[in-house]
Structure formats: C-alpha cells, structure tokens
Amino acid sequence: MGKYLIRRFIQLLVVSFIISVLVFMLVHLLPGDPTTQILGANDTAANRAILLKQLGLNLPLWHQYTIWLNAAFHGNLGTSYLNHESVTHILATGAPVSIELILISQLIAFAIAIPLALVVSRKPNRWLDNISTTSTFGLLALPPFVVAPILVAVFAVGLGWFPATGYTPFTQAPLTNLHEMILPSVAITAGSIAVYFRLLRSDLISTLQQDFITMARSKGLSTTRIMWRHAFRPSSFSLLAAAGINIGSLIAGTFVVELLFAMPGIGYALVQAVEQRDYLVVQGISLVVAIAFVVIQFIIDFIFTIVDPRVVRE
C-alpha cells in the first residue's frame, strides 16, 4: 500500500511537471504579450521594452520557467500582470466557485442518471427506456450556452424564482449561495446526465445478461439487492471512468457558465488570462487544475479497487 501511494505520488509529480512545461511553452508560443493590454495607447517601442524588462519577460524562456518553478515550489505562483491579484488569491477565491458548480451539477446528474438507468436496464426498449433515451439525446443537443439563457428567461426573469447572475460565497451566506448555484449547475449538468445514463444503462444491460445474475435470482435474492450489489457494482467501471474524465474536463470547462452567470470561477479566470497573455495566471491555474485532475483520477482508481477486488493494484 505504501509503495503504491509513493508510486502514485511520483506519478503526480511527473505529470504536473510535464504539464507545467507544456502549458508554459504553449502560452508563450502565442503571439503578443501582456504589454499591449497594460500599456494601451501608451504603447511605444521604448515603453514596451521597459515594461518587458520590469516584468521579467525579456529573459530567455528556460530562465523564466525556472524562476517560476522555483517560486512555485515555495508556494508563490506570482501575480496577474493586469490587476496584480496574486494567483494564489485567484485560486483561493475562484476554485470554490468552480468546484461547487461541478459538485452540484454532478450530484444532480448522478441523482437522475443512476436510478433511471437501474430501472430501465431491467426492461430495455419499453416505454420508459424509450422516453429516457430520447430525452437524453435531447439533452446532448443542448449545450450550456443554450440552456443557460433559456433557464434564466423562464425561471429568473419569467417566474422570478432564481437570480439571473451573481455569486455569494457559501461560507458567507449558504442559502443565497445555493439559490444562485441552481440555474448554472442545471445548465452544465445536461451533458453529464446523458453520458452517465447512457453508459450505465449500456453496461447494466450487458451485465444483466450474464448468467451469474440468473444464478443470483435463482438463489432467491431480491431484485433490488441484485441490481445494487451484483449488477451495479461491475457496471460502474465505465461510469466511474467517465465520471473521472467528465469532472476533469469540467474543471476548467465551466467558463461558459461562469461568464454568463457572472461567477468569478477559475474557468473564467483561465480563459481571460489566456486571452490577455497573463502568463503567470495561466500557468498557475493550469498547474493546480492538472494536479487536481490527477488526484481525482487517483481517487477513482482507488475506488475501482474497492468496487472490484479483481482489479489488482499494480
């Protein structure tokens, strides 16, 4: 167990390092630099040169990278060139927003997809299955930037049940926070519901055809018990894998909803930073996102081993 953890930790370090190098290179390959955004109409060759020197951007790339890496090791991820907010602060205030969005949306997705899949997989192609399948394909055709304005028009402006935009931290006012989180979470959950439902249903149907199910039935076990203990467990593999990837892709993928609902999450911060060539912000957020992703995968792989003891931990 200890060896396993150490190996995964080394993996975490290696992956994080490689990602930090890749992100660094990628974002510096982009044409332009933050000086235009900063200087605006005062952009002259002289000013640009001075500013680049002040920001340390005239150093050779590898040197800039090592400076950054060294600082990162000491917990200093730098500050934004534009509003001088520290990257750590951006993460500290933005991560809870994005994480909460993802958590709530995934909870909603699981709450809908899992029970539905369990029910329909027993009797595929009956009316409930057909309706569910049809609906999930409908959900897939509606990306967040479509769902969000519709939700706002109906539930915020029309019915007045929810606010149209805004974010209050959970620690400050939990009920207001949840109230504000509902519409944006629903906006991003559609795709997840579809993915989880479809995958789980498909996997369950296959599993239910295995004869050990018949055997369990013939032993007199109840349907519920069979579904949960014998069918769901092995079928949850692909669901877990998909969840891991889905969450991973969502971590920085919530920016559309963050933009539309004026929520200061890290997705929005990241996209803004790329567009404005705010290198340190991009690097800092990307690094943390990558680490978070690897950790989530680790947790999922760990759950794999619990769910299915046949999977040997390497």
């Binding site: 955004q37 005062n42 001075i50 534009l82 149209a164 567009e275």
Partner: protein, 563 residues
C-alpha cells in the same frame, strides 16, 4: 474663466496620448461646442410622477439606500498610475475619488477638488489652490504635498507618464497650493486634470504602492469609502460621512457588479439583481425604451465634442487596400442604412465623417463617398483587369456576436461588387496588437470619442506612423501632410473660425484618403429602474451643471433612490 477642455476620458483605445499638448479656446464662445444634441434617439421614461427626463431627479432627494449597478466589464485596479480606466474604471473612480478638475455641461473645465487653477500669462505655469479642510477616507488631510506625491508616481509610471511628459515639475509652493510647470505653453492643460491623471489618492495608498503591495487599499477623498472588492464579482463602497461637499452623497452604499454578457445583464436588471446597467449594444435601448418602470439615457442625445464612432479601418500601405480606388470601392459598397438597421437596430443615422449634425465641425459635404455599388463595381473591375485578379482581403473583428454579424453583412456587400473577402475573428488583445504592428488589411474598430478633436492627434499624425511590424499608433499608416498641418493649426490657433476650418479640413481629408469607413456612431446607454433618481444630473461645486453622461460615465454623487 472658462476653458475648453481637450482630453477626454475614454477606453484605452481612444485615449489620446496627451503628450502632444492641447488646444484652448479662450472666451465664452465655448458654448458653440457645448451640449450638442443630435435629434435621434430620444430617451424617455414612463414612470409616473417621477422624472420628466431620465437621469434628472425631481422632488426632494431621499437619503439612504443601497444602489446596485451592473457594469459591462471589470476594472483592473484602483491606483491611477498603474491601472487602465475605461468607462467602467471611471465609475469606480467616481465613487472613491475626486478629480482636480471636471467637465461642465457646457463643455468647459471647472475646478472640482481644486478650488481654482490659474495659468500665468504665457500658459506655461498653472497655479492651483486646493480646497481647505478636505480629508481623505483615512482622515489624512488633502495637502499640496500629497498632490505632488501623486504626480511623482504618475510621472514615473509607464502608463501615465506619457500623458505628463509636458509637465516639467509639480511643486508645493505652500500647504494648499500646487504649481505645475510645463515645458511649453499649453492653454488647455487643465483638461487633462479631469481625466485619470487628475484623480487624487491618499498618501497611505501611495506608500503601499511604493512598498510594492500588489493591491493597495484605495484611499480617496470621494463620496464613498472602499469596503471590499472581489474581482469579477462585486465591489462595495459606503457613504463617506465626512465628504467635503455638504449634504452629499445621498446614498448609503453602492455595489458595482461586472456582468459581461449583455442579455444576462439585462436579465439581472429585470429580476432586480441590479438597479441600473450600462450597455454598448444599441438594442438594449430598444428593449427598454418605453417600458414602464425603466429610464433610458444614451450617448446619442448629449454629445459634447466628437462621439465615439464605429468604423472599418483600412491599412493604407498593404495590398490591396493601399490602392485608393480599392478603398473607394470598399466605401461605396457599404450601405450604411442596412448595416445600421441590422447591427445597430436602426437607432443611429448615416454618418459621413467624424462629426455629427449639431457639432460646429460638422459639414454635410465631407467628400466621403455615398453608397453607390454600381460605381464600386466599375472600380473593382478596373482593378481586376489591371492586376489580373480581383482584390482580395481579410476582414478582421473581435470575438463578439454583434460584430460577427456586422462583418458578415459587410462581407456580402463587398462580395457583391466583386471583391474577394474572408472573415476572421480574433481576441481583442490580439487585434490591438495587429493594429499596432499594422498586420491587417481591414478590421472593425471604434474610436475617436473625444471632447476635443485635438485629442485624436496621435491617431492621425504623420509623426506617429511607422512601417509594418514596428509600433505605430497611426494604425492605418495614413501619412497625410494636409491632415498633419490642419491638426497643428487647430491645436495652436485661438480663433474659433480657424479651428473649425482646420478640423473640417481633417474630416474632408479623411473622406478623401479613406483610412476609415464609417458605420455608425458607437452608442453607450444606461438603463435604470424608475426609482433611481438623478443619475445624469451632477452639479459641480461651483454650482454649474456637470456633464451628465460622458459616453457611459456618470457621477454617483448626487444619485438618490426614491421610495
């Protein structure tokens, strides 16, 4: 004495680098340039028994209440030497700080935080006296030394230093008097003190900034005191109980919330999440005008000087737009009325140059070509037979859904006269880079909002152009000595008639050289619920009316919320 102001407060694209000095028009003829209204775009309110005109409060001011304002974009910081203030930035500044000078409704510059500002006979030294007994939010007094220290920081900064190169020294001659010495006579100098470089901050903030604190706590003399700022979320400030303007402000608290998406911002207004919103989409005006419960004001009805214009910029030194006949064809192929109808909701009127009817610089005959697709086709055909292939170019714009529409409209109009056009979308930061380096053929832009045309000197001068690849603020690289001469004439003359002539010449030359293809006036609007009173009717300390709506900028000082 009244003086014409020149430098305007605008987004960084339009901000004239005031390095070139300014223009003055002595005497009372200032009214000729003041408060020009265009007849389009009436704003109305239908809230019963409140304002007869939106933004003007009626009745007795009510004390108290919290106002929530939805902004188009976020500010990048509160420290004038290191941050850019666009329209949104100035709203924050108006809450926290006071400028030394301010723009009056008649277009003149009046003292605000300063008590007076007097030039010497040769206009190269300005002596400013400060108001007595003014305190910053932390209790420290406003003294001439603090002002001097502000200017030390401003001059040292890469951002604002350029605007102050004309200032040789700023010294405190006594506790409440500041002396500005200029390198050359500049009668219009005080106008700059109504912009970003005129907002004074407290010593504590300067000290923090010098100590390299990343986000110095804002300390100003303004009507509201900083409480907290969560970037991209909200900013809150509360009433300054010791504000030096007696009886003001009326509000207890102001919260500013940046909401980038226009439709969402409007939805937030409708749901009551905010009480007023700004917009740069004219369709917002359509959607709220005449709706009961809302008041709408826009920048089309209260123009001082030159309004911001939306246009297509052509590069005059790269192919095929370096060929004047191509530029003429491009101009004649655009049907402004259709573009305005679809893009701007039919809210604006066709434009033929920099100025709109009502401005003293306006002429109906600027030489700008009118819509004539047949003539355009002929020019294109001539070009094609001369060069062997049709002119082909890429039209760039930013990743904004409205502009995406307008470039597609323009693309079709150009294609219909035989030009080969592709469309590209790039991020705003990249597009500006392209402009600066001259790496474009045609692109959309908006600029030139300025209270005085001289402020736009840097964009049109022969001294600010440069080869492709180098940094040049004359983006189209249109090097026209006639324009240069006219701009300088306008800058240095004190005779109104000569001035008008000079800028009309500039306008006509632009209509001849065609580096810009006009689309429409770029409109800013503000929509407020009917309970928001007096948001476009500021009064200056000396009793004069202030400029109510400066292309998106308004003053929060005298706003109150009716019950």
């Amino acid at each position: 004495m009244t003086e014409k102001h020149e430098i305007s407060r605008r987004t960084f694209i339009a901000k004239g680098a005031a390095a070139g000095g300014a223009v003055v028009l002595a005497g009372a003829a200032g009214s000729a340039l003041a408060g020009c209204s265009s007849s389009s775009g009436s704003s109305s309110t239908t809230a019963a028994a409140s304002s007869s005109k939106p933004g003007i409060g009626v009745g007795t001011p009510v004390r108290g209440g919290a106002l929530n304002i939805g902004l188009v974009a976020e500010i990048d910081g509160f420290y004038p030497p290191t941050n850019h203030w666009d329209t949104n930035g100035y709203l924050y500044a108006q809450c926290l700080y006071d400028p030394l000078m301010a723009i009056a409704a008649d277009g003149s510059i009046q003292p605000y935080l300063a008590a007076s500002c007097t030039p010497n006979a040769t206009y190269d030294t300005f002596t400013m006296t400060l108001r007595p007994n003014v305190k910053f939010h932390d209790g420290s007094p406003l003294t001439s030394q603090v002002v001097v220290n502000n200017y030390t920081a401003l001059k040292a900064s890469l951002l604002t230093g350029q605007a102050l190169t004309q200032v040789v020294s700023v010294t405190a001659s006594d506790a409440m008097t500041v002396v500005f010495k200029l390198e050359a006579p500049n009668p219009g100098f005080t106008a700059g003190l109504a912009t970003q470089v005129g907002y004074m901050v407290g010593q504590a903030m300067i000290d923090q900034a010098n100590a390299k604190v990343a986000l110095p706590t804002p300390v100003g003399t303004g009507p509201f005191v900083y409480q907290n700022w969560q970037p991209n979320n909200h900013f809150t400030c509360t009433r300054n109980p010791n504000y030096w303007r007696q009886g003001l402000p009326y509000l207890d608290q102001i919260t500013l919330r940046p909401i980038p998406d226009t439709i969402q911002r409007e939805a937030t207004l409708k749901t009551g999440g905010v009480d007023m919103i700004g917009s740069t989409d004219p369709n917002t005006i359509h959607r709220f005008q005449g709706q009961s419960g809302y008041q709408v004001i826009d920048s089309a009805t209260d123009i001082i000087g030159e309004p911001s214009m939306a246009f297509i910029m052509l590069n005059t030194v790269v192919e095929p737009t370096n060929d004047l006949s191509v530029r003429q064809a491009l101009a004649m192929a655009i049907d402004q009325a259709t573009v305005q109808k679809i893009f701007g909701g039919g809210f604006t009127k066709p434009v033929n140059g920099l100025f709109l009817p009502g401005s003293p610089y306006y002429t109906s005959d600027t030489g700008y070509p009118s819509y004539d697709p047949a003539a355009a086709k002929k020019l294109v055909a001539a070009y094609t037979s001369k060069h062997g292939s049709a002119p082909s170019l890429e039209l760039l714009t930013i990743t904004d859904p409205r502009l995406a529409q307008v470039v597609q409209i323009i693309q079709q109009m150009w294609q219909q006269v035989g030009i080969d056009v592709t469309v590209g979308q790039v991020e705003q930061a990249d597009l500006i880079n392209d402009f600066i380096a001259g790496k474009f053929q045609a692109a959309t832009s908006y600029q030139f909002g300025a209270v005085d045309p001289d402020l736009n000197y840097v964009w049109w001068s022969t001294t600010t152009t440069g080869p492709i690849g180098s940094i040049a603020l004359n983006f189209p690289r249109n090097s026209d000595p006639v324009i240069e001469q006219a701009m300088l004439t306008g800058r240095h003359t004190t005779d109104q008639a000569t001035r008008v002539q000079a800028y009309q010449t500039v306008n006509k030359q632009l209509g001849k050289d065609l580096p810009y293809l006009w689309l429409e006036q770029y409109i800013f609007s503000e929509v407020a619920t009917s309970k928001v009173q007096n948001f476009a009717n500021p009064t200056l300390p000396n009793g004069m009316a202030g400029w109510g709506f400066d292309e998106g900028i308004f003053s929060p000082t005298a706003i109150w919320l009716s019950k």
